[in-house]
């Protein structure tokens, strides 16, 4: 079953603009991760935010987490054409038995120069 859902499904912006993607999830989590996937490639980990954290930065990336709303956002500032990719959130369920990361369907970002 789908745990995370990204919004929007697709986003087109110009170079230099900021891109914001959102992720909503259904159950409590240990942490939430964001991944990027270039066409025809595997996913690459971008950033992990733990359930007790509210905001995290990495370079031009800013991730927020609101556990009360069960949502997260990924902000890419000053976007570049090379940021064109699909972006996925993945949740690590708060489950003692241990389960795999559950991914959403992703947001496809297109940055034009």
């Amino acid at each position: 079953s789908q745990q995370g859902e990204e919004d929007p499904q697709a986003l087109s912006i110009q170079e230099g603009e900021n891109a914001t993607m959102n992720c909503s999830y259904k159950t409590s989590i240990n942490n939430l991760q964001w991944y990027r996937q270039n066409s025809g490639r595997g996913l690459v980990h971008l950033i992990l935010i733990r359930s007790n954290e509210r905001e995290k930065h990495s370079g031009r990336l800013r991730v927020t987490l609101d556990t009360s709303k069960k949502s997260s956002s990924l902000l890419i500032t000053a976007s570049r054409a090379a940021d064109t990719a699909s972006y996925f959130c993945a949740t690590d369920l708060n489950d003692q038995a241990g389960t795999a990361l559950i991914f959403g369907k992703g947001t496809t970002l297109s940055v034009s120069s």
């Binding site: 980990h45 241990g98 795999a100």
Partner: protein
């Protein structure tokens, strides 16, 4: 060091045939995952191996799908009697330790069932 390696990168097979997909995780990674990604879709969890524990097979879509991990390293995903709906990219990922950590993905095997 070397990343996660998957082979073959592309596989075309006829409906009804069996296929084996291979994953070589990063050396020392205890956790190994298989996901399936259909065109334009997100990742569908299939199976998860963690160390010597029994695998979590809860994502396997049917009994035609099976996977094993030999010696805690290489994994093989087997699909028997393939169907056209099995066509997808099969992604393998590994991670280094018991406590949650980022996944390292291979580039996947693109399976086409004709």
């Amino acid at each position: 060091g070397a990343g996660v390696s998957q082979s073959p990168s592309n596989k075309v097979t006829e409906k009804g045939k069996d296929v084996e997909l291979r994953c070589d995780p990063i050396s020392g990674h205890t956790a190994l995952y298989w996901y399936r990604q259909s065109l334009g879709q997100g990742l569908e969890f299939l199976i998860y191996f963690q160390g010597n524990s029994a695998p979590d097979k809860s994502g396997l879509p049917s009994d035609r799908f099976s996977a094993e991990r030999t010696g805690g390293s290489v994994s093989t995903l087997t699909i028997q009697r393939t169907q056209q709906e099995d066509s997808a990219v099969y992604l393998c990922a590994s991670s280094p330790r018991q406590v949650r950590s980022p996944l390292h993905f291979g580039n996947g095997t693109r399976l086409t069932v004709t």
